[in-house]
């Protein structure tokens, strides 16, 4: 899956993907752009610099499907024509990733709290079959309200699933308020460490920092808590809960493009 982009090139590739993501959401008139912008850097780094052909990626926060589609577009796995059909009748590119389509989308997700257990199953399968490859699962922080995640953390640590890495897009917002006001998660590092994960905290928009976290070898499962900004890169979207839902007006789209282009 990896691309040949150098670290410097990758910044340009991400820049392009971000513009394409905004265009796709604008053309389709759909929301969820805030959480897509918070996870795009992580998805791009993972897909361009980390994932090998034996590795599996699971997008547990299925509402970031747009960012995943834009990432796969940047790798040439999806075409412009594919993206133009995003959210339209007769598309494969639904608002959440579809089942039974391309290998890069291993599982349909969208209902939260499923991806980590699915990833644990894949990691255990590889272990039992003595197969090569690692498993990476991207979760949202709000998603951690779901109890099934904590079942999966116990299971993954107990079975020492060292091929498993979970990444939390820690943008601090959930569906109807800031996390600290809805269901405060406290210190995720402390929680994951206590559950038996090796935990790293990174700036989820800093490629050098992300690279550092993924380069560390750990004896058991690994958690990367990526501090991110909802609506990253667009001033009127940053840290605003409503951009979980709102479609952009034409004027907002033009402003967003202008801000990203100047960044």
């Amino acid at each position: 899956m990896k691309s040949s982009a150098t670290e410097k090139d990758l910044k340009d590739v991400i820049h392009e993907a971000k513009l394409r993501l905004l265009k796709m959401h604008s053309e389709s008139g759909v929301g969820h752009i805030g959480g897509n912008l918070s996870s795009l850097d992580l998805l791009m780094y993972l897909h361009h610099k980390v994932l090998n052909s034996d590795d599996v990626f699971v997008l547990s926060k299925g509402h970031s499907a747009g960012a995943l589609y834009a990432t796969l577009w940047s790798l040439g796995r999806l075409t412009d024509e594919d993206l133009q059909k995003f959210h339209k009748d007769g598309t494969k590119l639904a608002g959440h990733p579809p089942p039974n389509w391309i290998p890069e989308i291993r599982f349909a997700t969208g209902s939260l709290g499923h991806g980590l257990s699915l990833s644990a199953g894949v990691a255990l399968g590889k272990k039992l079959k003595n197969e090569a490859g690692r498993v990476f699962c991207l979760l949202s922080d709000g998603e951690l309200d779901e109890g099934s995640n904590w079942e999966a953390l116990i299971f993954s640590a107990h079975h020492r699933l060292e091929k498993l890495t979970i990444i939390v897009d820690n943008n601090g917002f959930q569906g109807f308020g800031p996390i600290r006001e809805v269901a405060d998660l406290g210190s995720l590092s402390e929680k994951f460490n206590t559950f038996g994960f090796h935990t790293e905290e990174v700036d989820g928009h800093n490629l050098e920092d992300i690279a550092r976290a993924f380069s560390i070898e750990t004896p058991g499962p690994r958690a990367v808590i990526a501090h991110t900004i909802k609506g990253h890169g667009v001033s009127f979207m940053e840290n605003r809960m409503e951009w979980h839902y709102l479609p952009m007006t034409e004027a907002q789209y033009r402003q967003a493009i202008e801000e990203i282009s100047k960044a």
């Binding site: 997700t109 257990s117 990833s119 199953g121 399968g125 039992l128 079959k129 079942e151 999966a152």
Partner: protein
């Protein structure tokens, strides 16, 4: 049936695709399987949602996971995990629910499985297997190792009358001939009813059919069953499952679509908790009119 399940799975343990997961249940029953499976026997703890999604993940790597628990804990607790992770992806996960219907008796309603196959069959790709006799279990298990779709296996307590010669396994089997109604039974209830009805006079005695694989379509219904029904004009369905989503509704739809409409339809099914009191499986069956004695009374009333 649980012991037969264990013994049969032991025989399949050399199949490297086979992984067994239990939701922390199987004490004094599954130890032989645990011993022989080694690391492919996984006690996933009391965490059924995770267990089912893990099974889906395992199946996506080419393995065949069998997931075991008391029936409601394997189909009701992880309902969405079965729907999204197993069924939407059409993965060959086998869900084994021990204690179909009222089998857990006085343990109470939380342990009963009265809507299991109806609920499961609402999902894409799902199939249900409901052995009526212990002898059915090894045949079904063998079938499930080659079956490419999700499956739910409902186990109960076999009640086959001693020395009754079972016909070769098939999803539809005629067990007894008679001149009464055409009776279709799902699950182990068939054994007790068969034992009680075999001695009835042929004029009252029904044709007894047992059905073990769901869903059904019009094409699956054997011509002999239709012939029996055309003769009796009375369909009598018995199942330890609520009416909603049960075989009574399924077969009524099939027959209507086929233009085969018997003039009389009797449906004996689970009615929940009729008196609000709890007891053995026998107690609950009696309250619902599912016991052999109540069925005989009904047949005499018809005659």
């Amino acid at each position: 049936m649980r012991n037969v399940l264990c013994n049969t799975l032991v025989e399949h343990s050399a199949d490297k695709r086979f992984v067994f997961l239990t939701g922390d249940l199987g004490y004094k029953a599954l130890e032989p399987l645990q011993d022989i499976m080694g690391q492919r026997f996984i006690n996933a703890g009391v965490a059924e949602q995770n267990m089912v999604s893990v099974a889906a993940g395992l199946a996506s790597t080419g393995l065949i996971p069998w997931v075991y628990s008391i029936a409601p804990f394997v189909y009701a607790r992880p309902f969405e995990q079965i729907r999204n992770d197993v069924c939407m992806h059409n993965l060959p996960v086998r869900l084994v629910g021990n204690g179909g219907g009222y089998a857990y008796g006085v343990m109470g309603g939380t342990h009963h499985a009265l809507e299991d196959y109806g609920a499961m069959l609402g999902f894409l790709n799902m199939h249900a297997f409901i052995p009526a006799f212990a002898d059915d279990v090894p045949v079904i298990i063998k079938k499930l190792f080659d079956f490419k779709r999700p499956a739910y296996l409902r186990l109960g307590l076999s009640e086959k009358p001693k020395d009754f010669p079972l016909p070769t396994y098939a999803p539809w089997r005629r067990l007894l001939r008679g001149n009464g109604p055409t009776m279709l039974i799902v699950g182990p209830l068939a054994g007790g009813i068969l034992g009680a009805l075999a001695d009835l006079s042929e004029s009252v005695r029904p044709d007894i059919w047992v059905l073990t694989e769901l869903p059904i379509s019009s094409n699956d219904i054997p011509a002999d069953f239709i012939d029996d029904l055309r003769g009796s004009r009375h369909l009598f369905v018995i199942e330890e499952h609520v009416a909603q989503g049960g075989i009574g509704q399924m077969i009524a739809r099939c027959l209507l679509m086929m233009g085969e409409t018997p003039s009389k339809f009797t449906h004996r099914c689970a009615l929940g908790y009729v008196s609000g009191l709890y007891g053995s499986q026998k107690f609950h069956r009696k309250e619902c009119g599912l016991d052999a004695e109540s069925i005989i009374e009904a047949l005499k009333g018809i005659a």
